[in-house]
Symmetry: C2
Subunit: 233 residues, 2 copies
């Protein structure tokens, strides 16, 4: 395949055994519409695929089922993982910390909760207040991240990277066996722990800074570009 790309580091030949890929902004466009070329590419893969999202686990498992990849998913930015469609959620984040932080935010901003009834490990908020101001007042046991689609108050001990390590251990893999692909700041830790990190062209600068490869194409087309570059399809 011929593609223009920016390779940030050099790697000796490695056989990657699994893929972790973000959904919104990576497999989808800004409108959160799935890129069918990326879907077809994921279906061709011979390796395990883990979807990793800031969205809720029942959203993640629905997308995994529809795409037809493994039912192992990371949801709520690493606060929840699920190993099968009909299995129970494994909750890795402490929602109580996030609820206490929510009360702090409420004293300063008029916040709008999203998917409150479904979230088990974090609090998701409409992007209608200044996040930098929020960062100054939030307790240290949580952090707030902008996924591009919403703000998320997350247990400081939780990340997609830690959740991927948890999954790799359970699967008997080294987290370095994973390729990770994402677009936003909530993917930083996942790209850092993976064996090879890819930022799609539309990614945040923070993510591009830690990526091994920044694709020339955005969203799902960037995912296809990366999988072709790595010889996985």
């Amino acid at each position: 395949m011929k593609c223009q790309y920016e390779l940030k580091t050099t790697h000796t030949f490695v056989v990657f055994k699994a893929l972790a890929v973000d959904i919104d902004g990576t497999l989808t466009d800004k409108k959160r519409v799935l890129n069918c070329r990326a879907v077809e590419a994921l279906r061709k893969l011979k390796i395990k695929v883990v979807l990793a999202t800031g969205n809720i686990s029942c959203f993640a498992r629905a997308v995994a089922k529809m795409i037809g990849v493994s039912d192992i998913v990371i949801a709520e930015n690493g606060g929840v993982v699920r190993f099968g469609y009909d299995e129970d959620d494994v909750v890795l984040g402490d929602r109580e910390k996030c609820l206490r932080a929510l009360e702090v935010l409420r004293r300063h901003f008029k916040v709008e909760l999203l998917d409150f009834e479904y979230r088990k490990a974090e609090v998701c908020l409409r992007k209608n207040f200044p996040i930098e101001e929020a960062r100054k007042i939030l307790p240290e046991d949580v952090r707030i991240v902008d996924t591009g689609f919403a703000y998320h108050i997350i247990d400081a001990n939780v990340s997609k990277g830690k959740a991927l390590k948890f999954i790799a251990d359970r699967l008997g893999l080294d987290v370095k066996d994973f390729v990770a692909i994402g677009d936003s700041e909530n993917d930083v830790e996942m790209l850092e722990v993976a064996g090879f990190g890819v930022a799609v062209a539309n990614a945040d600068e923070k993510l591009k800074d830690v990526a091994d490869l920044v694709t020339s194409k955005p969203n799902g087309d960037g995912v296809v570009e990366a999988l072709e570059f790595l010889g996985l399809i």
Copy 2:
């Protein structure tokens, strides 16, 4: 387009204003993998698309978002409808009736609950007991349907057809303005109330009996065939 099909009734020329389509077994195959040809076809439509499923509302809204159609969905076989991604569920079914019926079933069979925590209007069960035996002992205020993927205990007053009528009223449409496409017995009422009913080739005989059109192709390819036949794409 040239396609072999079985047209069950004759219709004068009608302009359909909306589409209601089932997900599992209709837009997906047996493995519940989304048919990308059908997805691309739905995206081309100029009319409103309502996804109608026996699955939970957060599954339905995820699929609607990924496909990129309107966020109006029918979930839990008509027990729940949702008019927008961030809107609340409108619960049309009485889950208490279903829970009482569940206790009756438990006296006779070892049942396995599915998505129990997420279901608001019905009870979903693994297909591991004889449904005809269950029908003989269930109270009359519920019915049990086989969607092909699971058994569902549903409030007898609820159906995808009644939910579609509810949505049509809210949208200021006549339910006859809808084309409805499905594959299983839980789609029967939806096809009956719609202006034109389509059963894909893999559909239950019960559904084919009430369909205006039975496609020659199964699943998503049948959806594309029907949309082409109706001149909607």
